[in-house]
Symmetry: C2
Subunit: 236 residues, 2 copies
Protein backbone atom coordinates (compact mmCIF):
# COMPACT_ATOMS: atom_id res chain seq x y z
CA UNK A 1 0.00 0.00 0.00
CA UNK A 2 1.53 3.30 -1.03
CA UNK A 3 1.86 6.23 1.33
CA UNK A 4 -0.87 8.21 -0.42
CA UNK A 5 -3.40 5.40 -0.03
CA UNK A 6 -3.07 5.03 3.70
CA UNK A 7 -6.21 5.64 5.72
CA UNK A 8 -6.52 9.11 7.23
CA UNK A 9 -6.07 7.83 10.81
CA UNK A 10 -2.74 6.31 9.92
CA UNK A 11 -1.60 9.53 8.32
CA UNK A 12 -2.50 11.42 11.48
CA UNK A 13 -0.60 8.80 13.51
CA UNK A 14 2.45 9.26 11.29
CA UNK A 15 2.19 13.04 11.82
CA UNK A 16 2.07 12.56 15.60
CA UNK A 17 5.13 10.31 15.50
CA UNK A 18 7.04 12.77 13.35
CA UNK A 19 6.27 15.58 15.79
CA UNK A 20 7.30 13.47 18.80
CA UNK A 21 10.55 12.63 17.03
CA UNK A 22 11.15 16.30 16.32
CA UNK A 23 10.44 17.16 19.95
CA UNK A 24 12.92 14.63 21.31
CA UNK A 25 15.48 15.92 18.86
CA UNK A 26 14.86 19.47 20.17
CA UNK A 27 15.16 18.25 23.79
CA UNK A 28 18.44 16.52 22.96
CA UNK A 29 19.73 19.75 21.48
CA UNK A 30 18.97 21.67 24.68
CA UNK A 31 20.62 18.94 26.80
CA UNK A 32 23.69 18.81 24.57
CA UNK A 33 24.05 22.60 24.51
CA UNK A 34 23.84 22.85 28.29
CA UNK A 35 26.20 19.90 28.84
CA UNK A 36 28.71 21.60 26.53
CA UNK A 37 28.35 24.80 28.55
CA UNK A 38 28.52 23.17 31.98
CA UNK A 39 31.40 20.76 31.22
CA UNK A 40 33.17 23.27 28.94
CA UNK A 41 33.24 20.83 26.02
CA UNK A 42 33.47 22.69 22.71
CA UNK A 43 32.89 19.43 20.84
CA UNK A 44 29.38 19.19 22.28
CA UNK A 45 28.61 22.79 21.29
CA UNK A 46 29.73 22.01 17.76
CA UNK A 47 27.55 18.91 17.69
CA UNK A 48 24.57 21.15 18.41
CA UNK A 49 25.44 23.33 15.41
CA UNK A 50 25.89 20.23 13.25
CA UNK A 51 22.54 18.72 14.17
CA UNK A 52 20.49 21.87 13.65
CA UNK A 53 19.81 21.07 10.03
CA UNK A 54 18.02 17.83 10.83
CA UNK A 55 15.48 19.76 12.93
CA UNK A 56 14.99 22.32 10.16
CA UNK A 57 14.34 19.50 7.70
CA UNK A 58 11.78 17.95 10.06
CA UNK A 59 9.98 21.30 10.22
CA UNK A 60 9.74 21.39 6.43
CA UNK A 61 8.63 17.73 6.24
CA UNK A 62 5.91 18.25 8.86
CA UNK A 63 4.73 21.40 7.12
CA UNK A 64 4.43 19.52 3.85
CA UNK A 65 2.66 16.57 5.51
CA UNK A 66 0.12 19.02 6.98
CA UNK A 67 -0.42 20.85 3.68
CA UNK A 68 -0.97 17.53 1.94
CA UNK A 69 -3.49 16.42 4.57
CA UNK A 70 -5.34 19.74 4.32
CA UNK A 71 -5.44 19.60 0.53
CA UNK A 72 -6.23 15.94 -0.04
CA UNK A 73 -8.30 15.04 3.00
CA UNK A 74 -10.10 18.32 3.53
CA UNK A 75 -10.51 17.53 7.21
CA UNK A 76 -13.27 19.02 9.35
CA UNK A 77 -13.55 20.13 12.97
CA UNK A 78 -11.25 18.16 15.30
CA UNK A 79 -8.90 16.88 12.61
CA UNK A 80 -8.59 20.33 11.03
CA UNK A 81 -7.66 21.79 14.39
CA UNK A 82 -5.19 18.97 15.01
CA UNK A 83 -3.41 19.60 11.72
CA UNK A 84 -3.22 23.39 12.05
CA UNK A 85 -1.95 22.92 15.62
CA UNK A 86 0.70 20.50 14.34
CA UNK A 87 1.97 23.20 11.94
CA UNK A 88 2.27 25.69 14.78
CA UNK A 89 3.95 23.21 17.11
CA UNK A 90 6.48 22.27 14.45
CA UNK A 91 7.28 25.98 14.12
CA UNK A 92 7.79 26.29 17.89
CA UNK A 93 10.06 23.23 17.95
CA UNK A 94 12.14 24.64 15.12
CA UNK A 95 12.61 27.88 17.09
CA UNK A 96 13.59 25.83 20.15
CA UNK A 97 16.26 24.21 17.98
CA UNK A 98 17.49 27.68 16.97
CA UNK A 99 17.69 28.69 20.62
CA UNK A 100 19.80 25.61 21.45
CA UNK A 101 22.13 26.74 18.65
CA UNK A 102 22.26 30.23 20.18
CA UNK A 103 23.29 28.65 23.51
CA UNK A 104 26.00 26.62 21.77
CA UNK A 105 27.30 29.82 20.12
CA UNK A 106 27.51 31.53 23.52
CA UNK A 107 29.37 28.46 24.84
CA UNK A 108 31.96 28.65 22.06
CA UNK A 109 32.51 32.28 23.00
CA UNK A 110 32.69 31.51 26.74
CA UNK A 111 35.29 28.79 26.23
CA UNK A 112 37.79 31.45 25.12
CA UNK A 113 38.04 32.58 28.78
CA UNK A 114 38.37 30.77 32.13
CA UNK A 115 35.15 29.66 33.81
CA UNK A 116 33.33 32.49 35.59
CA UNK A 117 31.54 30.29 38.13
CA UNK A 118 30.25 26.72 38.38
CA UNK A 119 26.77 26.66 36.87
CA UNK A 120 23.88 25.51 39.03
CA UNK A 121 20.77 27.54 38.19
CA UNK A 122 21.26 27.55 34.42
CA UNK A 123 21.32 23.72 34.19
CA UNK A 124 18.24 23.67 36.43
CA UNK A 125 16.44 26.09 34.10
CA UNK A 126 17.49 23.92 31.17
CA UNK A 127 16.08 20.79 32.80
CA UNK A 128 12.81 22.58 33.55
CA UNK A 129 12.53 23.83 29.96
CA UNK A 130 13.29 20.38 28.55
CA UNK A 131 10.61 18.81 30.76
CA UNK A 132 8.15 21.45 29.61
CA UNK A 133 8.86 20.68 25.94
CA UNK A 134 8.43 16.93 26.48
CA UNK A 135 5.25 17.30 28.52
CA UNK A 136 3.76 19.80 26.04
CA UNK A 137 4.24 17.28 23.23
CA UNK A 138 2.82 14.43 25.30
CA UNK A 139 -0.15 16.65 26.09
CA UNK A 140 -0.58 17.22 22.34
CA UNK A 141 -0.51 13.61 21.20
CA UNK A 142 -2.71 12.44 24.10
CA UNK A 143 -5.06 15.45 23.90
CA UNK A 144 -4.34 15.95 27.61
CA UNK A 145 -5.39 19.53 28.44
CA UNK A 146 -4.65 19.00 32.14
CA UNK A 147 -0.99 18.27 31.42
CA UNK A 148 -0.93 21.19 28.95
CA UNK A 149 -2.23 23.53 31.64
CA UNK A 150 0.44 22.23 34.02
CA UNK A 151 3.14 23.07 31.43
CA UNK A 152 1.81 26.64 31.10
CA UNK A 153 1.88 27.07 34.87
CA UNK A 154 5.53 26.04 35.08
CA UNK A 155 6.54 28.98 32.86
CA UNK A 156 6.54 31.38 35.82
CA UNK A 157 9.09 29.24 37.66
CA UNK A 158 11.50 29.44 34.75
CA UNK A 159 10.99 33.22 34.50
CA UNK A 160 11.65 33.52 38.21
CA UNK A 161 14.85 31.46 38.03
CA UNK A 162 15.99 33.54 35.06
CA UNK A 163 15.52 36.78 37.00
CA UNK A 164 17.58 35.28 39.82
CA UNK A 165 20.37 34.28 37.41
CA UNK A 166 20.23 37.76 35.85
CA UNK A 167 20.57 39.57 39.18
CA UNK A 168 23.41 37.33 40.34
CA UNK A 169 25.36 37.97 37.13
CA UNK A 170 24.81 41.74 37.41
CA UNK A 171 26.50 41.53 40.84
CA UNK A 172 29.48 39.72 39.35
CA UNK A 173 29.89 42.44 36.72
CA UNK A 174 29.58 45.28 39.23
CA UNK A 175 32.23 43.74 41.48
CA UNK A 176 34.70 42.86 38.73
CA UNK A 177 34.49 44.45 35.26
CA UNK A 178 36.80 41.66 34.05
CA UNK A 179 33.79 39.33 34.23
CA UNK A 180 31.50 41.50 32.05
CA UNK A 181 31.77 39.78 28.72
CA UNK A 182 31.34 36.30 30.25
CA UNK A 183 28.47 37.44 32.47
CA UNK A 184 26.69 38.93 29.44
CA UNK A 185 27.08 35.61 27.61
CA UNK A 186 25.49 33.79 30.55
CA UNK A 187 22.69 36.36 30.79
CA UNK A 188 21.92 35.64 27.14
CA UNK A 189 21.94 31.87 27.80
CA UNK A 190 19.39 32.48 30.55
CA UNK A 191 17.23 34.47 28.10
CA UNK A 192 17.44 31.69 25.52
CA UNK A 193 16.27 29.13 28.08
CA UNK A 194 13.45 31.42 29.16
CA UNK A 195 12.35 31.64 25.53
CA UNK A 196 12.49 27.85 25.15
CA UNK A 197 10.07 27.66 28.08
CA UNK A 198 7.89 30.30 26.34
CA UNK A 199 7.71 28.14 23.22
CA UNK A 200 6.75 25.10 25.33
CA UNK A 201 4.04 27.30 26.86
CA UNK A 202 2.81 28.28 23.38
CA UNK A 203 2.49 24.58 22.57
CA UNK A 204 0.60 24.00 25.82
CA UNK A 205 -1.78 26.84 24.93
CA UNK A 206 -2.35 25.38 21.47
CA UNK A 207 -3.20 22.01 23.03
CA UNK A 208 -5.74 23.60 25.39
CA UNK A 209 -7.27 25.49 22.45
CA UNK A 210 -7.40 22.29 20.43
CA UNK A 211 -8.99 20.22 23.21
CA UNK A 212 -11.28 22.81 24.73
CA UNK A 213 -11.84 24.92 21.62
CA UNK A 214 -11.00 27.96 23.69
CA UNK A 215 -8.11 30.36 23.47
CA UNK A 216 -6.10 30.88 26.63
CA UNK A 217 -3.40 32.58 24.61
CA UNK A 218 -2.56 36.07 25.71
CA UNK A 219 -4.11 35.54 29.16
CA UNK A 220 -7.57 36.49 27.94
CA UNK A 221 -8.93 34.25 30.70
CA UNK A 222 -7.25 36.34 33.34
CA UNK A 223 -9.53 39.32 32.84
CA UNK A 224 -8.39 40.51 29.47
CA UNK A 225 -5.34 42.50 30.48
CA UNK A 226 -1.84 41.14 30.33
CA UNK A 227 -0.42 40.80 33.85
CA UNK A 228 2.62 42.98 33.24
CA UNK A 229 0.38 46.00 32.78
CA UNK A 230 0.00 46.03 36.54
CA UNK A 231 3.69 46.89 36.80
CA UNK A 232 3.49 49.94 34.55
CA UNK A 233 4.41 52.84 36.82
CA UNK A 234 1.93 55.19 35.15
CA UNK A 235 -0.90 52.84 36.13
CA UNK A 236 0.04 52.99 39.79
Amino acid sequence: MSKMERPFDEELKALKEKLLGMASRAEEQIALAIRGLKDREEKLACQVLDREESINLLDIEIDEMCMRLLALRQPMATDLRFITSAMKISNDLERIGDLAVNIAERTIDLLKSPQLKPLIDIPRMAQMSQDMVRDALNAFVNLDDKLARDVCERDDKVDHLNNQVFRELLTYMMEDPGTISRAVDLILVGRHLERIADHATNIGEDVIYMVKGKTIKHHIEEGGRATHLKSCPVDK
Copy 2:
Protein backbone atom coordinates in the same frame (compact mmCIF):
# COMPACT_ATOMS: atom_id res chain seq x y z
CA MET B 1 -25.59 39.77 2.42
CA SER B 2 -24.34 38.16 5.61
CA LYS B 3 -20.65 37.59 6.34
CA MET B 4 -20.93 33.83 5.80
CA GLU B 5 -22.43 34.25 2.35
CA ARG B 6 -19.69 36.40 0.89
CA PRO B 7 -17.85 35.03 -2.09
CA PHE B 8 -14.55 33.35 -1.31
CA ASP B 9 -12.52 36.11 -2.99
CA GLU B 10 -14.04 38.72 -0.74
CA GLU B 11 -13.28 36.64 2.31
CA LEU B 12 -9.65 36.39 1.23
CA LYS B 13 -9.60 40.15 0.67
CA ALA B 14 -10.94 40.70 4.17
CA LEU B 15 -8.21 38.41 5.52
CA LYS B 16 -5.55 40.41 3.67
CA GLU B 17 -6.89 43.67 5.05
CA LYS B 18 -7.00 42.29 8.58
CA LEU B 19 -3.36 41.20 8.28
CA LEU B 20 -2.27 44.57 6.90
CA GLY B 21 -4.06 46.28 9.77
CA MET B 22 -2.31 44.00 12.26
CA ALA B 23 1.05 44.71 10.63
CA SER B 24 0.65 48.48 10.83
CA ARG B 25 -0.40 48.10 14.43
CA ALA B 26 2.81 46.09 15.09
CA GLU B 27 4.90 48.73 13.28
CA GLU B 28 3.32 51.47 15.37
CA GLN B 29 4.20 49.55 18.52
CA ILE B 30 7.88 49.35 17.50
CA ALA B 31 7.93 53.07 16.65
CA LEU B 32 6.21 54.03 19.90
CA ALA B 33 8.52 51.83 21.99
CA ILE B 34 11.63 53.32 20.41
CA ARG B 35 10.33 56.87 20.66
CA GLY B 36 9.67 56.28 24.36
CA LEU B 37 13.23 54.99 24.76
CA LYS B 38 14.90 57.71 22.73
CA ASP B 39 12.93 60.66 24.16
CA ARG B 40 12.77 59.11 27.66
CA GLU B 41 8.96 59.31 27.76
CA GLU B 42 7.53 56.78 30.16
CA LYS B 43 4.04 57.59 28.94
CA LEU B 44 4.87 56.24 25.49
CA ALA B 45 6.31 53.02 26.96
CA CYS B 46 3.11 52.56 28.93
CA GLN B 47 1.03 53.13 25.80
CA VAL B 48 2.87 50.21 24.19
CA LEU B 49 1.91 47.97 27.13
CA ASP B 50 -1.69 49.20 26.92
CA ARG B 51 -2.03 48.51 23.21
CA GLU B 52 -0.58 45.00 23.28
CA GLU B 53 -3.94 43.41 23.86
CA SER B 54 -5.39 44.72 20.61
CA ILE B 55 -2.64 42.90 18.65
CA ASN B 56 -3.25 39.71 20.58
CA LEU B 57 -6.95 39.93 19.77
CA LEU B 58 -6.18 40.44 16.06
CA ASP B 59 -4.03 37.28 16.14
CA ILE B 60 -6.96 35.30 17.56
CA GLU B 61 -9.42 36.83 15.05
CA ILE B 62 -7.16 36.04 12.10
CA ASP B 63 -6.61 32.51 13.35
CA GLU B 64 -10.34 31.99 13.55
CA MET B 65 -10.94 33.54 10.12
CA CYS B 66 -8.38 31.11 8.67
CA MET B 67 -9.83 28.09 10.44
CA ARG B 68 -13.28 29.02 9.16
CA LEU B 69 -12.01 29.40 5.60
CA LEU B 70 -10.22 26.04 5.80
CA ALA B 71 -13.30 24.29 7.20
CA LEU B 72 -16.03 25.85 5.09
CA ARG B 73 -14.27 26.54 1.81
CA GLN B 74 -11.89 23.60 1.71
CA PRO B 75 -9.51 25.57 -0.47
CA MET B 76 -7.03 23.93 -2.80
CA ALA B 77 -3.51 24.76 -3.98
CA THR B 78 -2.81 28.50 -4.04
CA ASP B 79 -5.63 29.50 -1.71
CA LEU B 80 -4.72 26.79 0.77
CA ARG B 81 -1.16 28.02 0.82
CA PHE B 82 -2.30 31.61 1.20
CA ILE B 83 -4.43 30.77 4.23
CA THR B 84 -1.82 28.65 6.01
CA SER B 85 0.73 31.41 5.35
CA ALA B 86 -1.66 33.96 6.83
CA MET B 87 -1.84 31.92 10.05
CA LYS B 88 1.95 31.87 10.30
CA ILE B 89 2.31 35.56 9.51
CA SER B 90 -0.25 36.49 12.14
CA ASN B 91 1.80 34.47 14.63
CA ASP B 92 4.97 36.36 13.65
CA LEU B 93 3.21 39.72 13.98
CA GLU B 94 1.95 38.78 17.41
CA ARG B 95 5.52 37.96 18.50
CA ILE B 96 6.69 41.29 17.06
CA GLY B 97 4.08 42.94 19.28
CA ASP B 98 5.50 41.04 22.28
CA LEU B 99 9.00 42.24 21.43
CA ALA B 100 7.83 45.87 21.30
CA VAL B 101 6.42 45.29 24.79
CA ASN B 102 9.79 43.88 25.91
CA ILE B 103 11.46 47.07 24.62
CA ALA B 104 8.93 49.21 26.52
CA GLU B 105 9.67 47.23 29.69
CA ARG B 106 13.41 47.87 29.28
CA THR B 107 12.61 51.57 28.77
CA ILE B 108 10.65 51.75 32.02
CA ASP B 109 13.67 50.22 33.78
CA LEU B 110 16.11 52.58 32.03
CA LEU B 111 14.14 55.66 33.01
CA LYS B 112 15.01 55.00 36.66
CA SER B 113 18.60 56.17 35.90
CA PRO B 114 20.12 59.07 33.95
CA GLN B 115 20.60 58.56 30.22
CA LEU B 116 23.71 56.49 29.40
CA LYS B 117 24.24 57.96 25.93
CA PRO B 118 22.20 59.55 23.14
CA LEU B 119 20.84 56.73 21.00
CA ILE B 120 21.71 56.65 17.31
CA ASP B 121 22.17 53.06 16.17
CA ILE B 122 19.24 51.61 18.09
CA PRO B 123 16.70 53.96 16.43
CA ARG B 124 18.31 53.12 13.08
CA MET B 125 17.91 49.40 13.75
CA ALA B 126 14.31 50.04 14.76
CA GLN B 127 13.61 51.92 11.51
CA MET B 128 15.16 49.11 9.47
CA SER B 129 13.11 46.48 11.31
CA GLN B 130 9.90 48.46 10.86
CA ASP B 131 10.55 48.85 7.13
CA MET B 132 11.18 45.11 6.90
CA VAL B 133 7.86 44.33 8.60
CA ARG B 134 5.94 46.68 6.29
CA ASP B 135 7.65 45.43 3.13
CA ALA B 136 7.20 41.78 4.13
CA LEU B 137 3.47 42.34 4.48
CA ASN B 138 3.26 44.24 1.20
CA ALA B 139 5.14 41.37 -0.43
CA PHE B 140 2.54 39.01 1.03
CA VAL B 141 -0.60 40.80 -0.13
CA ASN B 142 0.87 41.53 -3.58
CA LEU B 143 2.49 38.08 -3.95
CA ASP B 144 5.73 39.92 -4.66
CA ASP B 145 8.55 37.42 -4.16
CA LYS B 146 11.17 39.92 -5.32
CA LEU B 147 10.29 42.32 -2.50
CA ALA B 148 10.17 39.36 -0.09
CA ARG B 149 13.68 38.34 -1.09
CA ASP B 150 14.84 41.90 -0.58
CA VAL B 151 13.43 41.84 2.98
CA CYS B 152 15.33 38.60 3.73
CA GLU B 153 18.56 40.14 2.47
CA ARG B 154 18.24 43.14 4.76
CA ASP B 155 18.34 40.88 7.83
CA ASP B 156 22.15 40.73 7.75
CA LYS B 157 22.38 44.51 8.01
CA VAL B 158 20.30 44.53 11.17
CA ASP B 159 22.44 41.72 12.63
CA HIS B 160 25.55 43.67 11.79
CA LEU B 161 24.26 46.85 13.41
CA ASN B 162 23.25 44.89 16.49
CA ASN B 163 26.76 43.44 16.85
CA GLN B 164 28.13 46.96 16.62
CA VAL B 165 25.73 48.20 19.33
CA PHE B 166 26.66 45.20 21.49
CA ARG B 167 30.40 45.80 21.24
CA GLU B 168 30.05 49.51 21.95
CA LEU B 169 27.98 48.83 25.08
CA LEU B 170 30.51 46.25 26.31
CA THR B 171 33.16 49.01 26.14
CA TYR B 172 30.98 51.30 28.24
CA MET B 173 30.61 48.62 30.89
CA MET B 174 34.32 47.82 30.96
CA GLU B 175 35.23 51.46 31.41
CA ASP B 176 32.64 52.26 34.05
CA PRO B 177 30.89 49.51 36.04
CA GLY B 178 28.31 52.11 37.04
CA THR B 179 26.87 51.81 33.51
CA ILE B 180 26.42 48.03 33.62
CA SER B 181 22.77 47.71 34.38
CA ARG B 182 21.79 50.38 31.79
CA ALA B 183 24.11 48.91 29.17
CA VAL B 184 22.60 45.44 29.69
CA ASP B 185 19.13 46.93 29.20
CA LEU B 186 20.24 48.49 25.91
CA ILE B 187 21.91 45.23 24.81
CA LEU B 188 18.57 43.51 25.36
CA VAL B 189 16.75 46.21 23.34
CA GLY B 190 19.19 45.51 20.49
CA ARG B 191 18.43 41.79 20.71
CA HIS B 192 14.69 42.47 20.65
CA LEU B 193 15.06 44.57 17.49
CA GLU B 194 17.20 41.87 15.90
CA ARG B 195 14.46 39.35 16.61
CA ILE B 196 11.82 41.66 15.12
CA ALA B 197 13.91 41.65 11.93
CA ASP B 198 14.10 37.83 12.16
CA HIS B 199 10.30 37.63 12.28
CA ALA B 200 10.03 39.94 9.24
CA THR B 201 12.48 37.61 7.52
CA ASN B 202 10.32 34.59 8.43
CA ILE B 203 7.39 36.35 6.78
CA GLY B 204 9.51 37.07 3.70
CA GLU B 205 10.46 33.38 3.52
CA ASP B 206 6.83 32.34 3.80
CA VAL B 207 5.93 34.67 0.92
CA ILE B 208 8.65 33.21 -1.30
CA TYR B 209 7.47 29.71 -0.43
CA MET B 210 3.91 30.69 -1.19
CA VAL B 211 4.74 32.32 -4.54
CA LYS B 212 7.44 29.96 -5.74
CA GLY B 213 6.25 26.85 -3.89
CA LYS B 214 9.78 26.38 -2.70
CA THR B 215 11.24 26.53 0.77
CA ILE B 216 14.11 28.91 1.34
CA LYS B 217 13.67 28.58 5.07
CA HIS B 218 16.76 27.40 6.88
CA HIS B 219 19.02 28.35 3.96
CA ILE B 220 18.42 25.07 2.18
CA GLU B 221 19.10 26.90 -1.06
CA GLU B 222 22.57 27.82 0.09
CA GLY B 223 23.93 24.31 -0.03
CA GLY B 224 22.02 22.71 2.80
CA ARG B 225 24.16 23.84 5.70
CA ALA B 226 23.39 26.82 7.85
CA THR B 227 26.01 29.50 7.41
CA HIS B 228 26.98 29.76 11.08
CA LEU B 229 28.41 26.23 10.93
CA LYS B 230 31.35 27.71 9.14
CA SER B 231 32.23 29.63 12.27
CA CYS B 232 32.43 26.56 14.50
CA PRO B 233 36.05 26.39 15.62
CA VAL B 234 36.13 22.59 15.43
CA ASP B 235 35.26 22.80 11.73
CA LYS B 236 38.21 25.00 11.03
